[in-house]
């Protein structure tokens, strides 16, 4: 017991390769004191609530490199989806007391409310270095004994080859009213973030549809443009979705972000590969090849489009850290996509112009069709 009456429950984090980290339990209590997931690290300094509630983290345990997490609590406006889909949270230090005029609760409460377990007190820098050197890997954590956790970690599934989109997409279509523009947009929900919807609704009315909706049904809604959202995991098993995108191309302007970008590239025949430890943070420099300028971007992906594997699309954006593909634009059809998150939430606002480009694309296409 600490002086403020909180129980310190010692806990361990064990990675699939057997590496053990000491900490203490936070958040919800998992059944049997064991929780598993693919452990990834995120380097943002602010925006933990947005990260934890981002559906793209389905199946994953998020380790924050920033040591103090929870300082400003949580609030109703900073949810990126209806609930967190991640499997756990790893921090160095969970705030005991929040401080923000916007806060309505604290992070520990949010985790408990949604049944998300976590572990605090971890040497997260050691964990990050380990994942950086050996790659993202499954792990298990909790108050169970080391042998139990070790076995759980060894048996835990990663994200390769698994359709995680099915676990986060909406059950039925719903509409987000326009806050500005007059467009009609259909947004595929592969795990779409609220901030993206906020930006799209600035262009017009957005109909959010389940990931499984066939292309013809989408076109039947008469959209000016179709948006392919972000989402969790490996694009490879999502063949059905890719086929629908292939059907859409050329018939309606398409804009994709993150998983949506990978799926668009996949529809164009491009290959994807798994990055060693992914990009998860808010500080990745990306060059816009058209203007030459550098955008500081928000990123969250483990898989990546192989450069040069989609001959019908031009490379538009490149990651300056590792040279990976960050953006594509189709030569023959009105479609483009970026790997990073121009909507931010959390992250810098440098790339918001891409939503305006989507508007331009829709305007140009409409002109063409009706000419």
């Amino acid at each position: 017991m600490t002086d403020d009456g909180r129980e310190i429950a010692e806990a361990l984090l064990v990675l699939a390769d057997g590496t053990v980290f000491e900490g203490e339990a936070i958040g919800a209590s998992p059944p049997g004191g064991v929780q598993t997931g693919e452990v990834v690290f995120n380097t943002v300094l602010s925006g933990y609530q947005e990260v934890i509630t981002d559906p793209s983290y389905a199946g994953q345990v998020i380790a924050f490199t920033c040591p103090h997490i929870g300082n400003y609590g949580v609030n109703p406006d900073d949810y990126e989806s209806r609930r967190p889909f991640c499997r756990g949270v790893v921090v160095r230090d969970l705030a005991r007391r929040r401080s923000s005029w916007r806060a309505t609760g604290d992070l520990d409460g949010l985790l408990r409310e949604h049944g998300i377990p976590g572990i605090g007190g971890i040497d997260t820098r050691r964990l990050t270095r380990h994942l950086r050197d050996l790659g993202a890997m499954p792990g298990a954590f909790g108050t169970a004994d080391e042998a139990t956790l070790r076995a759980a970690a060894a048996g835990a599934a990663g994200t390769d080859g698994i359709d995680l989109v099915a676990t986060v997409t909406c059950d039925e279509a719903h509409t987000v009213p326009s806050t500005g523009g007059g467009r009609r947009i259909v947004a595929y929900d592969f795990g779409i973030k609220s901030t993206i919807l906020r930006h799209l609704s600035g262009l017009g009315e957005v109909t959010v549809v389940p990931a499984t909706m066939p292309a013809d049904d989408v076109l039947a809604l008469g959209p000016d443009g179709v948006f392919l959202s972000n989402g969790p995991g490996d694009p490879e098993p999502l063949t059905g979705i890719r086929d629908q995108i292939t059907d859409l191309l050329g018939r309606v302007p398409v804009f994709g972000i993150c998983l949506g970008h990978q799926l668009l590239a996949g529809a164009l025949g491009a290959e994807t590969f798994k990055l060693p430890f992914g990009h998860h943070g808010g500080n990745h420099p990306v060059r816009n090849l058209a203007t030459g300028s550098v955008e500081i971007t928000s990123q969250n992906h483990n898989y990546c489009v192989t450069e040069g594997s989609s001959p019908s699309a031009d490379l538009t954006h490149v990651n300056l850290n590792d040279g990976t593909v960050e953006g594509l634009r189709c030569r023959d059809v009105p479609a483009f996509s970026v790997q990073y998150h121009p909507e931010a939430g959390p992250g810098p606002h440098d790339s918001r112009y891409l939503f305006a480009e989507f508007e331009d694309l829709m305007a140009a296409f409409k002109g063409k069709v009706h000419a």
């Binding site: 690290f41 920033c66 300082n71 400003y72 705030a95 923000s100 820098r125 500080n283 939430g345």
Partner: protein, 1096 residues
């Protein structure tokens, strides 16, 4: 975009002497800029009057002008060098202001010099508060309601419109000088008038006060392709109303949601673009209303700053270096991040630790000051600490301060707080002072809630709760024993930043026992790396900090390693000079093949640039922290004698075999008064008679023997802390009680049985002489220089001007001094530096003290003589002989030439209007300048300009002298009348001057007498210079007021007749010869006076 080829040479202006608000951070930034620009192949021309800087080493620029930073001098340099460009953004406010003066005077246009980094329009927009606010409103950013005033009438009109409380900010100032908050009409009248005076252009901003709001800073960079990045966010623990330089600050920002942070980031970029900072780094300050989140922009600095130095050290991103590259045309994406090597500089660092900066104040040096913090910066230095969490970094920071504290209380000094009752403590904590952070912890410990303390201090509850976590842990520690703590308990305590010494205090045991128990429990420190990227990329940066974690990233190498202990925070008595020595040691030992390991906690310095040494440990310089690093690195030697008193204190505690150079026993021998007296007696070197005392009674016994006046000083301090010249019994009583007070609180310089007070006969009117020398293991000795002080003995050597070569000492006296120095060094078996101070009276040489360590004058001597003393000494300390170093070419002969170099101290009295601006045995200067020229007069005159004393060429000099000074004062007065200045004097002085045939235009009334008194004359502008020597502590009232008035009015004030005489000679030469500037490189080749330059 590639490097610009249309410019070939670049003039860089440094920031001049270390003053409050402008310290060695600009040596750090300037040194980086010099390095980078030369690497890029530009010819670098540097102007800086501060000889203690690394940047003015002749190796760092192609042409180094150690000359006054004044418009006429800069114009002369430009005329001579014809630079293509001027880079004004790396030398602080001084360089920016000078650049604007050069623009306004048409000099840059005339010579076709381009301003790079920031143009005149951008500087004016950022610096002129009215334009700045208008510009911000124009781009939709929120600013506090305000108005501009150029006189009191305008100021009153503004207040009528926006209401009280208001904050007053003068335009074109640095470190917040002249700013203040006014809550009542009376306060407003006073603060506004003060602000108008402080502004170069007599302009103030009267602004609605947002005291109590949260304060944030963003360090941002922009390149000419308009790429913008935030390098670091900083949150002030102290709310608005306390100057950020006086605030405890934390990086990264801790209490902003991403939504708010990104809003701030967008605003900062918009600000940069609107102001028009084309390239480089800027600092943008914001205030946030804690109740509503409303953000307002406060100010921006279109240049590198103290905060950008902190941000560079906090993140590992070298802002000044990158800013220099951007200024010559590169874009951020073209510059590699030299920490990761594989990623570009076009990114935003993310950090996985918490950095806390804590200011270091020196109020104890300025009797009469309130010690209350406000909008005008008063701290003289700062420390930075890195921890994995805020509590850890806060406690590390507090124990780095070198003021006797071991952390956030839990130490002997907290006893003073325990004596206060709750109400008194709460009342004290409501006022921002250096003690507040400790008072806050004490309140929390007494059960005041976080909300109560927040209500009283406006410190954010998150920070308070983090401090409460420390407090709660302390209670748990007190309730158990070292054995009861358990491994996890030990780890929790250490992770909250508790030092072994704090735990020892809480348990009443010895720190070494704490260490033993902790290690027995299996809890050891680990070392982490600062890598700009939160470990996302592999980085081999050799920049480390300790943490109590699971993984140690440091891999010891098998090269021979030398550890250099730095000097900690800048404070009066210990500043940039010692950092210079440590950096030189690192360079020299690195060149000689050693792996160098720097340990220091001062973020402003060159030593804490990760480029300086092979490895950098950003750690407190305490026994525990240093011992841990020694254990991790296993160095073959530890250098303790180059960083001033901070590392020297550790000499006796560390394993003797590791101490490089002079043994700790010799260091002790020089400090131990009895042994030292025996040694001098044996060598038959005369000393002023004296003795030691641990209490008043013993002091009286000594005085009975030697007679008044006596000099009373504590042992083991630098900078003459609490040193007093004592003329009678009552003064002696006072001085002794002061010192015993410090001792009980563990304050630096405190009296204790182990550290008695030295009581020596004070030699009045003696000339003081300083010698720096190096002795090797073979007994070979090289004299760096014999320096003659301008002020007589009794003025602290650090506050006294001094001259190389000695202008008034006969050759045989110099020879005696050199011989004494050689024999003392021999007797102490010195291996490395020795500094000896002498007093010369009637050609008799008395030794005052010897210190076998680097002295404050080492860089000055090196620049005056061309001998790289610190490099030579560091090699000697590692076993090289002087003969070997001569052969190697490192040790060169002193340059032969006719030049004279004068070092002058720079005093901070304008920051402390309540303090008496008189020189005395306690050092109070913050920095120094060097004047160098071919006559003593010219060199002295230049040193005065550089120190900010514009000696008048015409007008009236006011004389008021103590009786013992009247004889010497006559000569000075004659000098001024010969130059055509007129003299006014108080009655006694006037009578003396007239008796000796000197015209005195007017006799000035004593204060309170009928007639116009000196203060009225000073305020009316009728007097252009004041010569006023003090009469000892007893009858100081009149003089103190006169000096304070002169200081307040910015009128040159000379408090010794020696300085007055030197000023008269300087003015004479200045009028006689044309202004000439020469490079240090030229002086070091040797310049002899031609026939056109003869001494008048």
């Amino acid at each position: 975009m590639p490097r610009r080829d249309d410019i070939g040479s670049i003039l860089l202006i440094g920031s001049g002497p270390i003053v409050i608000g402008q310290a060695c951070e600009f040596d750090y930034s300037g040194t980086q800029a010099c390095r980078v620009l030369r690497e890029e192949g530009y010819r670098v021309i540097l102007a800086n009057s501060n000889p203690a800087t690394i940047m003015t080493d002749p190796d760092f620029a192609d042409a180094t002008y150690v000359e006054p930073l004044r418009l006429d001098v800069l114009t002369r340099i430009i005329d001579k060098e014809r630079p293509d460009a001027l880079l004004p953004t790396l030398g602080g406010q001084t360089a920016l202001n000078l650049a604007m003066e050069l623009v306004e005077a048409g000099v840059l246009d005339e010579y076709g010099v381009e301003l790079i980094g920031a143009d005149a329009e951008a500087i004016a927009t950022a610096e002129d508060r009215e334009r700045f606010k208008a510009a911000m409103l124009e781009i939709g950013l929120d600013v506090p309601a305000s108005g501009i005033a150029h006189d009191m009438d305008e100021a009153r009109q503004v207040v009528e419109r926006i209401g009280l409380p208001v904050v007053i900010r003068p335009a074109y100032i640095l470190g917040g000088r002249g700013t203040g908050i006014a809550a009542t009409p009376e306060e407003f009248e006073r603060v506004a008038a003060h602000g108008l005076d402080a502004s170069r252009i007599h302009e103030i901003l009267v602004e609605r006060s947002i005291a109590g709001w949260k304060e944030f800073e963003l360090e941002v960079m922009r390149d000419r392709a308009d790429n913008c990045v935030v390098i670091c966010s900083i949150e002030n623990l102290d709310p608005m109303g306390i100057h950020t330089g006086d605030s405890i600050t934390v990086a990264p920002a801790q209490t902003l949601t991403d939504l708010e942070y990104q809003q701030m980031r967008d605003a900062a970029f918009a600000c940069l673009r609107r102001v028009g900072v084309e390239t480089g780094g800027s600092n943008v300050q914001f205030a946030v209303d804690p109740a509503t989140g409303q953000q307002v922009i406060i100010e921006m600095n279109p240049r590198v700053s103290r905060s950008s130095a902190l941000a560079s050290k906090a993140t590992g991103f070298p802002i000044a270096k990158i800013a220099a590259r951007l200024a010559v045309g590169y874009t951020l994406d073209e510059i590699p991040n030299d920490i990761t090597e594989e990623t570009p500089a076009a990114f935003e660092p993310t950090i996985d630790y918490v950095v806390t900066k804590v200011p270091r104040w020196a109020f104890e040096k300025f009797t009469g000051t309130s010690g209350v913090l406000g909008t005008s910066m008063q701290s003289v230095g700062e420390v930075m600490a890195i921890g994995r969490t805020f509590p850890e970094s806060l406690q590390k920071g507090l124990r780095s301060l070198e003021n006797g504290r071991l952390g956030l209380n839990a130490d002997p000094a907290e006893a003073a707080l325990d004596e206060m009752d709750d109400d008194a403590l709460a009342a004290a904590a409501a006022i921002a002072t250096p003690e507040r952070i400790f008072q806050v912890e004490a309140l929390l410990r007494r059960g005041h809630t976080v909300d109560q303390v927040h209500g009283a201090t406006a410190i954010d509850p998150w920070f308070l709760d983090q401090m409460l976590a420390i407090t709660e842990e302390r209670r748990a520690i007190e309730a158990t024993t070292p054995d009861g703590l358990g491994r996890l308990g030990w780890r929790r305590a250490k992770r909250l930043g508790f030092s072994d010494a704090q735990l020892a205090h809480l348990w009443g045991i010895d720190p070494s026992q704490v260490r033993d128990r902790r290690e027995a429990a299996g809890v050891f420190p680990t070392y982490k790396t600062v890598d700009t990227c939160g470990a996302e990329f592999a980085a081999e940066t050799p920049y480390h900090y300790s943490a109590w974690e699971e993984e140690d990233e440091v891999r010891p190498s098998d090269r021979p390693k030398v550890m250099i202990l730095g000097s900690g925070p800048n404070r009066i008595g210990q500043g940039i000079e010692f950092d210079y020595c440590c950096v030189h040691a690192s360079f020299a030992l690195g060149d000689a093949g050693y792996e160098t390991i720097m340990v220091n906690c001062n973020p402003e310095t060159v030593s804490t640039d990760y480029d300086t040494s092979d490895r950098l440990y950003f750690e407190p310089l305490t026994f525990e922290d240093v011992t841990n690093i020694i254990a991790a690195e296993q160095p073959m030697a530890v250098v303790v004698s180059l960083g001033g008193q901070t590392p020297l204190k550790l000499a006796g505690l560390l394993p003797e075999a590791l101490i490089a150079g002079t043994s700790p026993r010799s260091i002790d021998l020089a400090e131990d008064r009895e042994q030292w007296n025996l040694l001098c007696a044996k060598l038959e070197i005369p000393q002023p008679p004296g003795g030691t005392a641990v209490d008043l009674q013993q002091a009286r016994v000594v005085v009975a023997d030697v007679g008044y006046p006596v000099l009373v000083r504590p042992s083991y301090v630098l900078g003459g802390r609490a040193m007093e010249i004592v003329y009678d019994d009552s003064q002696l009583e006072w001085a002794m009680s002061e010192l015993s007070g410090f001792g009980s609180l563990g304050i630096e310089g405190g009296l204790s049985a182990e550290r008695p007070v030295l009581v020596d006969r004070f030699l009045e009117d003696a000339t003081e002489v300083d010698v720096d020398a190096i002795r090797d293991a073979d007994g070979d000795l090289v004299i760096g220089a014999v320096m003659e002080h301008v002020e007589e003995a009794g003025v602290h050597s650090g506050d006294s001007a001094c001259v190389i070569p000695p202008p008034h000492l006969p050759d045989e006296v110099v020879a005696t001094i050199e011989e004494h120095t050689r024999r003392i060094a021999e007797a102490l078996d010195v291996r490395g530096f020795i500094n000896v101070q002498y007093a010369v009276k009637a050609d008799e040489v008395y030794v005052i003290e010897a210190n076998p360590r680097a002295s404050r004058t080492v860089p000055f001597v090196a620049k005056a003589t061309g001998v790289p003393l610190a490099k030579v000494a560091s090699r000697v300390m590692l076993g090289a002989t002087l003969a070997e170093l001569r052969t190697e070419g490192l040790l060169v002969d002193r340059v032969v030439g006719d030049h004279v170099a004068v070092k002058e101290a720079v005093m901070p009295f304008n920051r402390f209007p309540e303090a008496d601006p008189v020189l005395g045995p306690e050092m109070r200067s913050t920095g120094e300048v060097m004047g160098i020229d071919l006559t003593p007069g010219l060199a002295f005159y230049k040193s005065q300009i550089s120190a900010g004393t514009d000696l008048p060429d015409s007008g009236t000099v006011f004389f008021s002298l103590a009786d013992r000074d009247k004889r010497a004062g006559l000569e000075a007065a004659r000098g001024f009348t010969d130059l055509g200045l007129s003299i006014v004097a108080t009655s006694g002085t006037a009578a003396h001057l007239r008796y000796n045939g000197l015209p005195v235009a007017d006799v000035v009334a004593k204060l309170g007498e009928d007639g116009t008194d000196a203060i009225e004359l000073i305020r009316s502008g009728a007097i252009q210079m004041v010569v006023n020597s003090p009469r000892g502590r007893g009858s100081r009232a009149d003089g103190e007021h006169i000096r304070a008035a002169a200081s307040a009015e910015g009128i040159p004030l000379l408090t010794t007749t020696a300085a007055a005489l030197a000023a008269a000679r300087g003015l004479t030469d200045w009028r006689h010869f044309p202004l000439e500037v020469r490079t240090l490189q030229a002086y070091h080749r040797g310049i002899t006076r031609g026939p056109e330059v003869s001494v008048p």
